[in-house]
């Protein structure tokens, strides 16, 4: 059974949500954090409702609704989201009030909206969609877990037009804590120069990217989703090169068949070293691209990578800004999206032109 990406919508730190040119009009950030460019939510949400919602809920719901509109789907067969930290803003708000108000007379709204499944639930509520609804919260493979669930549902024949998304919001509090944990660069830089810096740390990010998956072929589909796999690097013993070769072999492909590899390079020298080993070996002769200078790094940023890959295949063009070296084939038919999260979780997603 072949599966397809029917539509893709992303709210990101770039102008990806409006129907403008494909990553031509770039937004530059100087600092160590990229915030999303939020749309006018009036088109998607009742302003009265929106006022009570945190950014991740608004971003998630708006990206989901746009994605469904693009796919001309009103009632998806399933709604599945992936998010490592979920509704951070509401979680932190409630946690702070517990401490400040010493557990007395707390307002309930932040707690109600703090559960990780809030975005998937709000989408279901707005659509009155009673179908399968789930949320995966497993660190750097939260989105990939959701994607695998969607793939299995389609293969099992239990759903069609599955809506799947990756969401994450960055709050000031999380940014402070993650900075103290050493995730980000120690001094401000331009995101567009991220890969020139060659230093420790990356740039914080956030975003919401949704996809409609189907098993029905159509000229309107964006790309074929050939496979998606995750690998846990237990005790540092993972041989990712052999896992990539296995994936290719399983689909009767060789590395020469891959027109473009999109990696999860994020500008952190330790993080990127994992990819650079393959740059010198398996992918030495393969065209490469990256995206985290545009989106920032977050646990579900690979969903932005999938948005990018789907659009490259649909539009048959590789935006200059994502090229990691020379691009030999500017109208790629087969793309491998390879991401790892702190070298603990690795994911491989293979896309093909329909």
């Amino acid at each position: 059974m072949k599966l397809y990406i029917k539509s893709a919508a992303a709210i990101s730190a770039q102008n990806t949500f409006s129907k403008g040119p494909f990553l031509a009009d770039l937004t530059e950030y100087t600092g160590t954090r990229l915030n999303t460019i939020e749309p006018d939510y009036k088109e998607f949400l009742d302003p009265k409702l929106a006022r009570r919602m945190s950014r991740v809920i608004k971003m998630g719901v708006a990206a989901a609704m746009q994605c469904l509109r693009d796919a001309e789907v009103s009632n998806p067969g399933a709604i599945i989201t992936g998010t490592a930290l979920g509704c951070q803003e509401d979680t932190i708000t409630f946690l702070e009030r517990i401490i400040e108000l010493e557990e007395q007379m707390l307002p309930p709204t932040a707690f109600i909206q703090s559960t990780h499944n809030t975005v998937a639930a709000q989408i279901a509520l707005m659509l009155k969609c009673h179908n399968y609804n789930s949320t995966f919260v497993h660190k750097g493979i939260s989105f990939e877990s959701a994607l695998l669930d969607a793939v299995m549902l389609l293969k099992e024949g239990d759903a069609n037009d599955v809506l799947v998304g990756g969401i994450e919001e960055m709050t000031d509090t999380a940014f402070k804590i993650l900075t103290r944990l050493g995730l980000y660069k120690r001094w401000p830089i331009s995101n567009l120069d991220l890969f020139k810096a060659k230093s420790k740390g990356t740039l914080g990010g956030e975003g919401a990217a949704f996809f409609v998956l189907t098993d029905k072929p159509s000229d309107d589909n964006m790309a074929e989703l050939v496979a998606t796999r995750t690998h846990f690097n237990a005790a540092g013993k993972l041989d990712i090169e052999s896992k990539i070769k296995t994936l290719l072999t399983d689909f009767s492909l060789t590395v020469e068949d891959i027109d473009l590899v999109i990696t999860g390079k994020n500008g952190d020298i330790k993080n990127d070293a994992v990819y650079e080993i393959l740059d010198q070996s398996l992918f030495a002769d393969t065209s490469k691209a990256y995206f985290k200078h545009l989106s920032g790094e977050y646990a579900t940023s690979v969903s932005f990578g999938l948005w990018l890959a789907s659009n490259i295949i649909k539009k048959q063009t590789v935006p200059v800004v994502v090229a990691d070296g020379e691009i030999s084939n500017t109208s790629p038919k087969k793309i491998l999206l390879y991401n790892h999260y702190q070298n603990t979780y690795h994911s491989l997603t293979l896309l093909s032109a329909c």
């Binding site: 946690l95 010493e102 499944n117 809030t118 969609c129 009673h130 995966f136 919260v137």
Partner: protein, 399 residues
């Protein structure tokens, strides 16, 4: 895709016992796990009863074989998951494709609460070791590493239906021939976050909860973990012991009514139960026992009861809410109650619904109040419903 998935191991820790045997013994004694708060550092101690696991963080860590400073969520999870894996006694475990699919709702919140007290005063303060591992997925990762599982791990969080979803996601990984063995279920430790959260919603009973009773006033929070070991038919055949049962039916439906409240007619609950029956190829009359979601809140029990009336009426199987013993263990409840459901089939048990006195006025049935043994039980339906309208039903069937 219709290949069967068997349950060959169970493990559980709740307020009524630290393992399967202790939980069964507590059912036998009719002894509930609720009481005054003794472990959790909260202003609600002495006012709101909860169902705590009766071990300090240090004692739990000792039992789990983990360092003492870790989140209680991790230690609870490891204790129950390890019991399940040992119970399954799969001889060539390390040669099989294995997975761990766990669920929880607030990750390492118990430790993050400590961090935030210092952090709020000064953003440069607060021990980072109390917060760096806050994520729900970190709970799963620690336990998978301890159990030697690396082929696949993930975490689900759909509020109070979380671990029921983890169990059937695990079964589907086997049906899709990705894995041979999956340990699946969930965990949640009591935290000030959830206690205060449910308190703001005014759905906590200051007395011990009375599920499916007309005078019910709310739920009691609990904590714990419950896991089942799922295997393919091929693996089941290699084991010395016969499987406990099969996971024959499952369904996840959404109520799509309100972020926290259930629809009056229990639409989501109805669809989940009906969908699970369809998946199992069973009729309502084939169900021998329903392990109710039965939180004890006016809203849940009314919605769930109404859905049962629509689907099962006029012939009702015995049913009960084991939350009258364990409290509502939130993200763990689907896993804990899956273990009880499996044991119901294995030992022919129907658990009592404690403290039931008055039948709900809107329902023509009432829950079982006696602990019944040696019952002919072939099919058990287990309900887990949560915030966000997330409703999941599982059906376990004798083989």
């Amino acid at each position: 895709m219709s290949s069967p998935v068997y349950i060959v191991g169970v493990g559980v820790i709740t307020a009524i016992g630290n393992n399967v045997a202790e939980n069964l013994a507590a059912f036998d004694r009719g002894e509930a796990g609720m009481g005054d708060i003794t472990m959790l550092n909260t202003n609600h101690a002495g006012v709101l009863p909860v169902a705590e696991v009766k071990l300090s963080n240090e004692e739990l860590a000792d039992l789990a074989g983990l360092p003492p400073h870790l989140s209680r969520t991790k230690t609870l999870s490891l204790v129950a998951a390890r019991e399940a894996l040992l119970d399954a006694a799969i001889p060539n475990f390390s040669e099989l494709r294995t997975g761990f699919v766990s669920a929880n709702t607030v990750g390492g919140m118990d430790k993050s609460e400590d961090f935030f007290v210092d952090f709020l005063n000064n953003n440069d303060k607060g021990k980072l070791r109390n917060v760096f591992d806050h994520e729900c997925g970190s709970m799963t990762e620690v336990v998978a590493n301890e159990l030697g599982i690396s082929d696949y791990l993930t975490t689900i969080s759909t509020a109070c239906s979380s671990s029921a979803n983890a169990i059937f996601y695990g079964a589907r990984l086997i049906k899709n021939d990705m894995l041979d063995v999956v340990i699946a279920g969930g965990v949640d430790a009591l935290a000030k976050f959830t206690l205060n959260g449910f308190n703001t919603l005014m759905i906590l009973d200051k007395q011990f909860c009375r599920p499916f009773d007309d005078t019910r006033e709310g739920l009691n929070l609990g904590e714990g973990a419950g896991y089942v070991v799922l295997v393919s038919e091929r693996v089941a055949k290699t084991l010395n012991n016969p499987p406990y049962c099969a996971l024959s039916g499952y369904n996840n439906s959404n109520d799509a009514y309100h972020q926290t409240a259930s629809s009056p007619d229990g639409t989501g609950s109805y669809l989940a139960m009906q969908g699970a029956l369809t998946k199992a190829g069973l009729q309502p009359r084939d169900i021998d026992y329903i392990n109710l979601h039965g939180t004890g809140t006016p809203n849940n029990d009314s919605a769930e009861g109404t859905a049962i009336k629509r689907l099962f009426g006029p012939a009702y199987p015995p049913m009960s809410s084991t939350k009258s013993f364990t409290g509502h263990t939130l993200g763990a409840s689907g896993g804990v109650e899956a273990v009880f459901s499996v044991l119901a089939i294995k030992h022919g048990l129907i658990y009592p619904n404690l403290r039931f006195k008055t039948q709900m006025h809107e329902l023509p049935f009432s829950p079982e109040t006696e602990f019944l043994k040696n019952q002919p039980i072939k099919n058990v339906l287990s309900n887990s419903f949560g915030f966000g309208g997330n409703c999941t039903s599982l059906i376990f069937s004798a083989v």
